[in-house]
């Protein structure tokens, strides 16, 4: 294994850590199931790709725009979540994913099926980041997002999220504004997925509609469910496993979705809280 290869895989794992934690905000903390999270990832990625490749924007403005536009679309999805719940919300989020991919694919402005190419590597103070440098840079973002999650767990947001996750009626009875906290969750989640999209775009140098398809949403979901919904360490470990496992098991990579499906079923059956969730194997191992 060359260093370049290792750093590339490490970069992807860092991006997926950010992405899995972003889904965890909406799903793990606020209890709103989203099966279309790749849509926000794609929106963030396309924002950066368009601004950098088509309009020649520098790295930091594109980073900021990816986060803001991701947050804006998260906010927009938060609005229907006030009306639809459970299965209907799941269907709404799946629908959103398909719509976003279709927009990227069939509208020429977004590059159509050929996507957008020619995104330059980010440069800091005139120095272009190499593979190792970019792995370090994405790693710093992963750490920042982990710290952000630790902050959320310490402030009142956590209580609001937990209350609406547990019982919306009970939450309202003690004055927790259910609409407000749902919107917060979707907006924060969208912003972080937008950030992950930006990191992805600059790693790949190009974006294609299928990079953000429904199967990617399932991969993100698998990371969160496998590790442990509602924990910080769970999605991190889930993202590491789902990124590194296919590299180790390269010969069976074509069966990726099948493997994810089996993983989800097994986790649901034997580790419903995830490996690092309540009573999870890994959690119990560390406790000892």
């Amino acid at each position: 294994m060359t260093f370049d290869y290792f750093f590339t895989v490490l970069t992807f794992s860092n991006i997926f850590i950010v992405l899995a934690l972003s889904l965890n905000v909406v799903m793990g903390y606020a209890g709103q199931v989203s099966l279309g999270h790749a849509a926000f990832f794609g929106i963030g990625a396309y924002t950066s790709a368009m601004l950098a490749a088509k309009f020649g924007w520098g790295y930091f403005p594109t980073l900021l725009m990816s986060i803001l536009i991701g947050a804006f679309f998260g906010f927009l999805l938060g609005l229907p979540s006030l009306r639809v719940k459970h299965d209907f919300l799941v269907l709404t989020t799946i629908g959103l994913n398909f719509v976003v991919v279709a927009v990227f694919k069939y509208i020429d402005f977004f590059g159509g099926p050929y996507g957008i190419i020619g995104v330059p590597r980010p440069t800091f103070f005139g120095i272009e980041l190499g593979t190792g440098g970019y792995a370090l840079y994405t790693g710093i973002w992963a750490i920042i997002v982990i710290l952000l999650m630790m902050c959320i767990e310490k402030i009142y947001l956590r209580y609001g999220f937990e209350a609406i996750k547990e019982n919306e009626d009970a939450a309202e009875s003690i004055g927790v504004s259910v609409p407000r906290f749902k919107i917060y969750a979707f907006t924060i989640s969208g912003a972080l997925a937008g950030l992950a999209g930006n990191l992805w775009t600059y790693q790949m140098g190009m974006v294609f509609p299928d990079d953000f398809s429904f199967s990617v949403s399932i991969s993100i979901l698998t990371m969160v469910v496998l590790g442990g919904v509602g924990t910080i360490s769970g999605p991190v470990v889930g993202a590491l496993i789902i990124t590194f496992l296919p590299e180790i098991l390269r010969p069976i990579q074509n069966y990726r979705l099948l493997i994810y499906g089996i993983i989800i079923v097994l986790v649901m059956l034997y580790q419903p809280g995830g490996l690092l969730g309540k009573n999870g194997i890994l959690r119990n191992m560390f406790k000892r």
């Binding site: 209350a163 009970a170 009875s173």
Partner: protein
């Protein structure tokens, strides 16, 4: 403290509350009594702002019209509710339930409120690490009251607290509600257990088919022939 004028609640074609007027003065315990389906829960829900039904009428709290405010804003003004069947956060521990109840408080105030709740319900302190779903029916009600008290309410709405509880526990919980008045908390309680409600309250409103049928001093209502016959089984 609280004035409700011309309150109407409609669930589609069903007119559950019809032009209810009521008043709660500071430091009072007021009860809303009536049979199942009389409109008690809807009235309390409308005062708290948690109903998902068409509501109109005027609700004034401490001189301020709160009719258009969300439940969140009403809670910030000092109104909280102990909902029917407790509705605690079942998968959280007792302590976590209280933590969520006091989510807007700073550390010091949170500690004070927690001690206050534990002093009212020592059993909650004993079971603080226990999952709420494993509590008994009475303990769940205690937790629901404790959680509502975490936000230092000025007006506590209590909905059908005795539902499904054994008489000994009902007595215990009603004693605590009576104590709350000494701590400066005004209480509006809806109850099917008419005798208990009239015993602890200063005044009462009797609801029948969504309308106020009678109201007045609780002691006087206990002697009222209609009330005796219809609600006290005398």
């Amino acid at each position: 403290m609280l004035e409700v004028k011309g309150l109407n609640v409609k669930y589609g074609e069903i007119h559950a509350v019809r032009g209810v007027d009521l008043e709660v003065r500071e430091g009072e315990i007021v009860s809303l009594i009536g049979a199942n389906g009389a409109g008690k829960t809807s009235t309390l829900g409308a005062i708290m702002g948690i109903l998902k039904a068409k509501t109109d009428g005027k609700i004034v709290f401490e001189g301020k019209d709160i009719s258009g405010l969300s439940a969140w804003n009403r809670a910030k003004l000092g109104i909280t509710i102990v909902p029917e069947r407790a509705r605690i956060f079942a998968n959280m521990t007792v302590y976590e339930n209280l933590e969520v109840g006091g989510y807007l408080l700073d550390k010091e105030t949170f500690k004070e409120r927690l001690e206050f709740v534990y002093s009212l319900f020592p059993r909650l302190a004993e079971r603080k690490k226990q999952l709420a779903l494993t509590l008994s029916g009475g303990e769940k009600q205690m937790l629901a009251i404790g959680r509502a008290l975490m936000l230092s309410p000025k007006l506590l709405l209590v909905d059908e607290i005795s539902l499904g509880l054994m008489p000994k526990l009902v007595d215990e919980i009603f004693k605590v509600i009576f104590k709350l008045r000494e701590k400066g908390i005004t209480v509006l309680i809806s109850e099917q257990n008419t005798k208990k409600a009239l015993q602890i309250s200063d005044r009462a409103y009797v609801l029948q088919n969504g309308k106020i049928f009678k109201f007045g001093n609780s002691k006087e209502l206990m002697e009222d022939e209609d009330i005796k016959r219809a609600y006290l089984g005398v």
